[in-house]
């Protein structure tokens, strides 16, 4: 399901765009240095087009009366590797937004997180671990099923976080979660089964060539990935804070209830820490904090975005420093 511009606030959209942009730039740089990049250029292009062609082939899902099709994120990652897979999915999302009004300009980052990141980041390593060297049919199917379902559910979770944090739609969390996660379970299962079938076929066709000898292991570049994850976790955290106004105070109150004899000191310290670390106390902009109104959603997401940009800056700086420490020529692990 494509996130639309209409459901997003600029803060959420831009934060995820920035994270996705950093990730894509890192993946592009790493990919174009690979020895087999030249060979992959046309293959990536036609496989991206294959994703669209595959959507012409809708099939019936037994027992539901509905239909499904191959989305292709996991398949692309397995066939092409994580960096190339991510770039192909990004180009697919761009063309879907441009030609089919699926998604949008501001929503590109969100959609890359929801549909591209999880297969490349988690799906592929999980698949490799589960499938092993020469998997049989059953093992291969399982090895595709688990990451596909996981990626679909994480994608659905992303849609929920982005929607709720943006505050344009008003879905209650529990019902939204039941609906989204429920819908994405069969979607993930279908994706897993279809991917397994395609991988079996690709293996027969000789398309699953091992990586060239001596090449760096195929992983997403470290620093941009950490940065992108920080952005996403920042959004999820900001959203959690907004669903539980005063999340820290709430947990403190419970802690206080458990320890009735020590009310003041710990509370004071933690308050001070919170005041010191949070740029904006309680995620509300100065001057708009009247007691009756809960913090406005826009302020929450803006504060969240600023906070996570700061986190991201720190993480990126740290990663850059640690890489420099390991010396040049060393590829990200």
């Amino acid at each position: 399901m494509h996130m639309a511009d209409a459901l997003l606030s600029p803060a959420v959209g831009l934060a995820l765009d920035a994270g996705a942009g950093a990730l894509l730039t890192g993946a592009a740089r790493q990919l174009s240095r690979r020895p087999d990049y030249q060979r992959k250029v046309p293959l990536m292009g036609v496989l991206g087009a294959f994703v669209f062609a595959a959507q012409m082939v809708n099939f019936a899902i037994p027992g539901t009366g509905s239909s499904g099709h191959l989305a292709g994120g996991l398949l692309l990652s397995i066939l092409l590797g994580p960096e190339a897979g991510l770039l192909v999915i990004a180009s697919v999302l761009l063309v879907q937004a441009f030609f089919f009004a699926d998604g949008g300009l501001l929503a590109l980052g969100c959609n890359l997180f929801n549909m591209g990141l999880w297969p490349a980041l988690l799906g592929l390593p999980l698949y490799r671990r589960l499938a092993g060297d020469r998997p049989g049919t059953l093992r291969l199917t399982l090895a595709c099923l688990v990451p596909a379902v996981l990626a679909a559910e994480l994608g659905a979770f992303g849609v929920m976080v982005e929607t709720q944090l943006s505050g344009r739609a008003d879905l209650p969390f529990s019902r939204f979660a039941a609906l989204m996660l429920g819908i994405h379970l069969p979607i993930g299962v279908v994706e897993g089964l279809a991917t397994a079938a395609m991988i079996r076929f690709a293996a027969r066709m000789g398309a699953l060539r091992p990586a060239p000898e001596g090449a760096a292991p195929e992983r997403l570049p470290l620093a941009p990935t950490v940065l992108a994850l920080a952005v996403f976790l920042g959004c999820a955290g900001a959203w959690f804070a907004s669903t539980r106004p005063d999340g820290l105070e709430w947990s403190l109150a419970r802690a206080g209830a458990a320890l009735p004899t020590a009310p003041g000191r710990a509370h004071e310290v933690l308050r001070a820490v919170q005041r010191f670390t949070a740029l904006m106390p309680d995620y509300a902009l100065p001057g708009r904090r009247d007691a009756a109104a809960p913090p406005a959603k826009l302020d929450t997401s803006l504060a969240g975005a600023l906070g996570l940009l700061a986190t991201a800056g720190l993480v990126a700086g740290g990663a850059a420093l640690s890489r420099r420490g390991r010396g040049p020529g060393r590829s990200a692990r």
């Binding site: 511009d5 740089r29 062609a53 082939v57 809708n58």
Partner: protein, 265 residues
């Protein structure tokens, strides 16, 4: 089917009009300013969104774009936004406004706001494509700083998109001829069809790679000297961004209403 509309949109991009001649970068940036302007309004906003409709209207007029494929695609893509927005009227029943004596709930307002935003953002993006050939959009993205490996992929994907989609359609048509009683194929049938598609795709990739090698491909798709960013492009960019900023900050709708009333009085 949205595919028919998408093909129409693709063809329209190669037409000629004052808007078609503008630099892709200018159009992309105006589009970005537009989407930011629209999405930054608070959730209950309706009146503030209305002036933004002038942008797609102007794009369609200056680009001489027929509305049919654009509207078709907007409608085809709308279910998700509608579905998500549909909960608003049921959850937020607080009376937020009175229109001609009728109470309107906050949820209804925010739902209507989502619909307006959706219509605005999607139609503008589609009009961008209907007035700019995809290769020039990709080149524009590249010159705005997108990584080369990504824009090369956008180009390659676009080059083989409709070709491979046509193969998918032929397979589906052939399947329908063999089992006309069945609207959708069984999973086993679909698996065969997808395998066939993947096989043809892979072979196409191999053949394209051979053709590239023979013509001296070194891993980069070189580009010719790009078009200059002229005065007209700068003016277009300034006007577009300026209007979006004004429409976001100033109460244009109210002024228009007051002017209208003053003239009537």
């Amino acid at each position: 089917m949205s595919l028919v509309a998408a093909r129409a949109l693709d063809r329209l991009g190669y037409a000629d009009s004052p808007l078609h001649r503008r630099d892709a970068r200018a159009k992309l940036l105006v589009c970005a300013a537009f989407v930011l302007g629209v999405s930054s309004f608070p959730r209950y906003e309706l009146a503030g969104l209305l002036p933004f409709f002038l942008v797609p209207a102007a794009l369609a007029a200056f680009g001489r774009v027929p509305l049919r494929p654009v509207l078709g695609l907007v409608l085809a893509a709308s279910p998700f936004a509608i579905l998500v927005g549909l909960a608003n009227p049921f959850l937020d029943t607080r009376v937020a406004a009175r229109v001609a004596g009728v109470a309107v709930s906050g949820g209804l307002l925010s739902f209507a706001s989502i619909l307006l935003r959706f219509a605005l953002c999607t139609s503008t993006l589609l009009l961008l494509v209907a007035t700019t050939p995809m290769p020039r959009l990709a080149a524009g993205l590249r010159r705005l700083g997108s990584p080369a490996a990504l824009t090369v992929q956008v180009q390659m994907l676009y080059r083989y998109l409709f070709l491979l989609v046509a193969e998918g359609e032929r397979l589906s048509a052939a399947r329908l001829l063999r089992e006309p009683g069945r609207r959708l194929p069984r999973f086993a049938t679909a698996r065969g069809m997808l395998s066939m598609l993947l096989h043809r795709t892979w072979e196409r990739g191999d053949r394209v790679h051979r053709c590239m090698q023979v013509r001296g491909f070194q891993g980069e798709l070189p580009t010719l000297a790009a078009a200059r960013f002229g005065t007209a492009d700068a003016l277009f960019l300034a006007a577009g961004v300026g209007f979006c900023a004004a429409a976001r900050v100033l109460p244009l709708a109210r002024w228009a209403g007051e002017a209208f009333l003053a003239r009537g009085a």
